[in-house]
């Protein structure tokens, strides 16, 4: 039953891509609105309002003759608008989990629903399109393209949506302004400090208006002051309704989220809510 519904959803999604390729901005806006409405209407049919729903997820890697069983059956539900920290010692599987959530890696077994879409046997092209549409990434090592300046880096996700150079750069400037980097718009990443680079990466993760932002040790390379600035920014983003999943090993970072999930040996060990503010449910980040 959920399967048929998901298929129609995917078809709608493709429709959006086709329209985008024609670079007809007005039509895109209308189409986006229609599709959003569509998904919104259909959502109640599936498992209430879960943004992410994992059911018995297994993942193992083959290293030579050894088989390393990293995730041994993860069950996890994340509601839309939640801000979640994933913790665990190294080797606990937290990065693997994040990669699977981010469609950067495919799980071996189990069901993964991302905003109601079943992620299964997905080819690279489809995964790329879903990443572009639904997900934003923030990495410990920033992963900015070194030969592109700040604006171009931020605008890159929109290039893959077929948005014209002028309008995506204009939008990128707005997002740079949002993270306080407007004066550095023309600078290359290596001319920026660690904190600025991470803010740049956050602006890039936001520009495609994702539903979920996945951050892998986003403060790992930053000092405590900059870390807390970045976390403030994340909280602000979360306030606007975007679901955030942050992998970290720092307790004080984790405690700025609403929910802490601790992994151990490929299974969820503890999962407790911080009791912070309830997740807000504004649909899209409003600027």
């Amino acid at each position: 039953m959920p399967h048929t519904f998901i298929n129609t959803n995917v078809i709608h999604f493709e429709f959006v891509v086709v329209v985008n390729n024609h670079k007809m901005n007005a039509l895109i806006a209308v189409a986006l609105f229609v599709v959003t409405l569509d998904i919104g209407l259909q959502k109640p049919q599936h498992n209430n309002t879960m943004m992410i729903s994992l059911n018995n997820i297994h993942k193992s890697y083959e290293t030579g003759s050894n088989k390393l069983h990293v995730l041994k059956g993860i069950d996890l539900n994340v509601e839309a608008g939640e801000m979640v920290a994933v913790m665990g010692s190294s080797g606990s599987g937290k990065s693997t989990l994040l990669n699977i959530l981010g469609l950067l890696d495919m799980h071996d077994q189990g069901d993964y629903y991302l905003d109601g879409n079943l992620i299964k046997n997905m080819n690279e092209t489809k995964a790329a399109q879903l990443r572009n549409k639904f997900l934003g990434f923030v990495f410990q090592s920033f992963n900015l393209i070194s030969f592109k300046n700040a604006v171009e880096n931020v605008a890159l996700p929109l290039y893959y949506q077929g948005v014209s150079r002028r309008s995506r750069n204009k939008l990128a400037m707005e997002y740079l302004d949002r993270v306080g980097l407007l004066p550095w718009a023309e600078h290359l990443p290596n001319e920026l400090s660690g904190g600025q680079k991470q803010r740049l990466a956050i602006a890039r993760s936001l520009i495609a208006k994702p539903k979920v932002i996945l951050a892998d040790e986003p403060t790992g390379a930053l000092d405590s002051t900059t870390s807390s600035e970045v976390m403030d920014l994340f909280q602000e983003i979360n306030q606007s309704g975007i679901t955030l999943i942050i992998v970290t090993h720092e307790n004080d970072i984790a405690h700025k989220t609403q929910r802490i999930i601790k992994l151990r040996d490929g299974l969820i060990d503890t999962d407790h809510k911080n009791g912070h503010t309830k997740p807000v449910s504004k649909p899209i980040l409003s600027l």
Partner: protein
Amino acid sequence: MFDLDKWQEIFNTIEKNKMRTFLTGFSVAWGIFMLIILQGAGVGLQKGVENEFRSSATNAIWIWSGQTSKAYNGNNPGREISLKNDDYSYLGSQINGVDKISGRYNIWSGNTISYKNESGSYSIRGIHPDYQLVEQLTLVKGRFLNENDQADSRKTVLISKLVDEALFKNEEESLGKYVSINKIPFRVVGIFDDDDGRDDNMQVVYVAVSTAQQVFGGAHNLNGIVVTVGDATAEEATIIENQMKAKMASRHHFDPTDDQALFFWNSVEEFTRFRKLFTSISMFIWVIGIGTIIAGVVGVSNIMMIVVKDRTKEIGIRKALGATPGSIVSLILQEAILITAFAGYIGLVLGVGILELISDQIDTPFFKQPEVNLSVAIGATVLLVIAGVLAGFIPAKRAASIKPIDALRDE
């Protein structure tokens, strides 16, 4: 379909990675450039060799009088063997395979040829009418010496362009005029040009061999005989040469193995040898050319592989941000095509340009007017571009298919 935004992205990447672009482009341009220069040199060599043989028949066998070096039938070595008019008639009629034949009777020096107040010292060659075809003389005007001149021992003369210019000043018409050769008047019947560029073939006037013998006291003697052998192969020409040698040995009573009695020079053999040499050279050049292309292909593949390796992380980032594998492959390939095509074109233009530039300057024996077959050059460029694309395609495909997470980990 032309996607402006994609090209902007590519130009952007090229602009920001000048060194990488330069290295890729340079290896392609250099490969094409070297290929064209080598091909040009090969053609130059070929033309040079052909030119060396242009001005005399490539199917001729020459015989000159000599001295015996071996005792034979009671005769001591050192006996002069001189060719006679009889030998001319004999060789012309009795040897199979002889096509054209001419005797030559030379008065090398001490001749004064004058017209009005102008005079000069030139060689006189007495020849048969067929000689024109043997030496491949070009008639500028008038006519060549003919059978009537020979039969009647007419005092007619064929002068070279050079002699014409020296004796007949102010562009005076020379045809029909009488020049005096050692004070004997000869009527000018034609003017020739021997375009092998050798001066000693131009400091010459030709008269009929019978006239030369009669007027200058040659009796029945000839200095040499030349025959052509049609389109005989080198082997056939050698057989004809040996036949002539044997007949001459018996007619003049000398040892057939004595190679000093009469000198033979077989241009067929010579030409064949040169042709073989040329074929080897041209094969050698092709081998080098193909080698150059292979080196270019390997170079391009190598650089493309490094480029893709270099960009693995960038590719990972792009994939994480939503780039499809197809868009990654096409991004890298279009860049590769752009760079190799442009650089190939530069190499093509430079190579052809340099050849054109030096072509007029270089005019030495055995190397003349180097030029390149443009279709070969363009073909090679296209081949190199395709190779570059293929070389880029494999790593690009691999890069696009690696999981973004692996690419991102690549530090």
